[in-house]
Symmetry: C2
Subunit: 473 residues, 2 copies
Amino acid sequence: MNAPLATELLPRIEPRPVPAAMLEALKARFGERCSTALAVREQHGRDESPYDVPPPEVVVFCESTEDVAAIVKLADQHAVPVIPYGAGSSLEGHLLAVQGGVSIDLSRMNRVIALQSEDLTVTVQPGVTRTQLNNEIRHSGLFFPIDPGADASIGGMCATRASGTNAVRYGTMRENVLGLEVVTASGEVIRTGTRAKKSSAGYDLTRLMVGSEGTLGVITEVTLKLYPQPEAVSAAVCSFPSIAAAVQATIQIIQIGVPIARCELLDANAVRAVNRHDKLSLREGAMLLMEFHGTPAGVKEQIETVQQIADDNGGLAFEWAETPEERTRLWTARHHAYFAGLQVKPGCRTVTTDTCVPISRLADCLLDTVAEADGSGLPYYIVGHVGDGNFHVAYLIDPNVPQERETAERLNLQLVTRALGLDGTCTGEHGIGLHKMAFLVTEAGAGAVAAMRTIKHALDPKNIMNPGKIFAA
Amino acid sequence: MNAPLATELLPRIEPRPVPAAMLEALKARFGERCSTALAVREQHGRDESPYDVPPPEVVVFCESTEDVAAIVKLADQHAVPVIPYGAGSSLEGHLLAVQGGVSIDLSRMNRVIALQSEDLTVTVQPGVTRTQLNNEIRHSGLFFPIDPGADASIGGMCATRASGTNAVRYGTMRENVLGLEVVTASGEVIRTGTRAKKSSAGYDLTRLMVGSEGTLGVITEVTLKLYPQPEAVSAAVCSFPSIAAAVQATIQIIQIGVPIARCELLDANAVRAVNRHDKLSLREGAMLLMEFHGTPAGVKEQIETVQQIADDNGGLAFEWAETPEERTRLWTARHHAYFAGLQVKPGCRTVTTDTCVPISRLADCLLDTVAEADGSGLPYYIVGHVGDGNFHVAYLIDPNVPQERETAERLNLQLVTRALGLDGTCTGEHGIGLHKMAFLVTEAGAGAVAAMRTIKHALDPKNIMNPGKIFAA
């Protein structure tokens, strides 16, 4: 693979100014909900990616689909970029205003519109966060399983095709979005999908929008699948003598078909960071965090099988999180891993990898990566949705030391090259954004990326929808 | 809904002749694999839909991706339509040469290319049929669950986003295709997806191609998810005093979250036809055919729950298909329902409905439909993947009596109108084809269909890929 380092790929910034007429129209319609204050713009001009890019020119806080459509119509008229903003938790630079324009803040569109518990579906506005959603539907006995590390917005999770710790059993946003309402590049409002569980009615616009990173439209409403809260839930941690042993156990668990709900790897560095951040006392070695969902008898069967596999791979005794509170504490700690990691090296930023490979290739992919990371001199930690073949190496870099960033990007390139050689992908769940545009071409091939670009140009001829993401501008 | 009857919607036939130069080029490359014999063309010019349309001008039997690419390049050069042909089992007119052109017969591309049992994936050529696939991988302990009624080809199943009896547990082609090789409208070969279980790498071209009915490209290779053959399998039939009772039981089974593998409704007419065709002696009333997959203990739990629900709804005692042979006999009979039904009225053809609604709306949708069908005077039967909210009314019509077709189409329109009003879809698994183009507009809305057309025009500017399907030409 001859892909250049990701740092070389940042598009040159060619701002497309918001004309005075458009700014006046926005102010006239939105009043104080339209802000050009620097602090507000800066807050909307960065995310958790390692980039610093000028902020958007304007931020508008939307409260309705009509608000979004009105902004996009103006943007279309004036050929000005728009960037949807949810919770600001992207890791790949999705939110950065590389060509200026308007940040469409959707965080106030945070209503659960309709819970149809008798169909196991819910319709929400895009600014609803995953924890808010589960809090608001808990009474129904249902839950929504997809849980990226951050408390992301549902709209953002659609846009990046997010997943998280439960995907090994419940799938990703790809499998769990039934339909969308979308404002297209012309400002028109369309609906994709219905509440039917399956359909063969024309092109799958829902799946096209899921993972399109704001480049094809702004998602203004989402209908999701829900699941009955399992009758029985058990969670455990199990330490292993090495990462290799933990990975081998994982591979066997998946290959034998255990319907495990969560199967997460933490390396010793991650456990250490999480212990410190969340005041836990987990054994500081390679570890699997697991959860089992089902009937009491079904959970018991799963655990027996997994304990046997863990034993065969040198795993220590399971430590159980017995109560709901203990489980919440454990998984909250897991979800804090990113912020816990940041505290290891004050002032650092992270370069986070996201490869995903077929399960039988996981050991090949992960163990060589650990050796490279160890040899790099950079502090790092690893967390992984290993049941899916997906893991993250987070390199902690000093943003003021270019060499550290270069080292991290080189290691990422080596890892991506390895993963693609193992029939895998450069990104399991974070998306392409600014960071992986070259990797996308290597992974999908020039012809497939050309097909994607053709779709982009056809649906967004003025290139106003989050331009410069997925493809260079 | 003011959609016209489907019969009014058949596009006028405007054949686009295959120029002599192209025909010569095809003959030079393909020799005897290029046929213009009327019998061969007629065989490729119809399917199981109720339409008669002139056949393609030429049929080419492909043996490789390069064969397909060569044909499409010629077709691009000469602006001639191409229509992929797999097993010929479409129900919606997908294969009909409404604008003439070349039928690309893929049935000889029927190799299982690679079984990666350690990853639960398999890569196949598009002409492999579903039963062939399961026969060839049986030794691995894995299986592929998607099973439309016909022994369809995997390529065709991708093209129509097919499902079948196992979808209630295992999903449809939407969820079970990992990646594709596709020949685009310019004759270029692209790959979509990898063997990674999940990915956020750019637009989901895999899901865009799945369900595109040959209108965006020709699928030449498919990578599928597989599943471990369950440790325990039990199948049973249960008769109910009425369709209403069987449907109520189904709704409760799904809402309570039983991971049932199959949950199929047959009405008394369907049972009668199947009994006669497959020499069975099932009780001739409304019936659920069910199958349970899991560990022995898990299956036992599922059965206890479902038996209780059946009892509560007046179900008779379960009759068990105890042995693998008995199960095969039962499910083969279910898969024969279509052909069994045809024999009820010699010389008939069927108009088959395919609505799918959220599970809580199933009774509303189905019971009013039964009343209408009973009042119509047409013979009919009903089979349904009711666990998914999907069912088929097959109206048996005399193709020489226009009034029968009109009646059937009117009933279909009424059913679709009802299903859309219940947040459902006009087609759960058969596709749009020629038959449901007006329904698609009503269901998705003009704006969403315009977005689909925009994609079609961008990716196939000469409109050579199965033109006149999904959208009127």
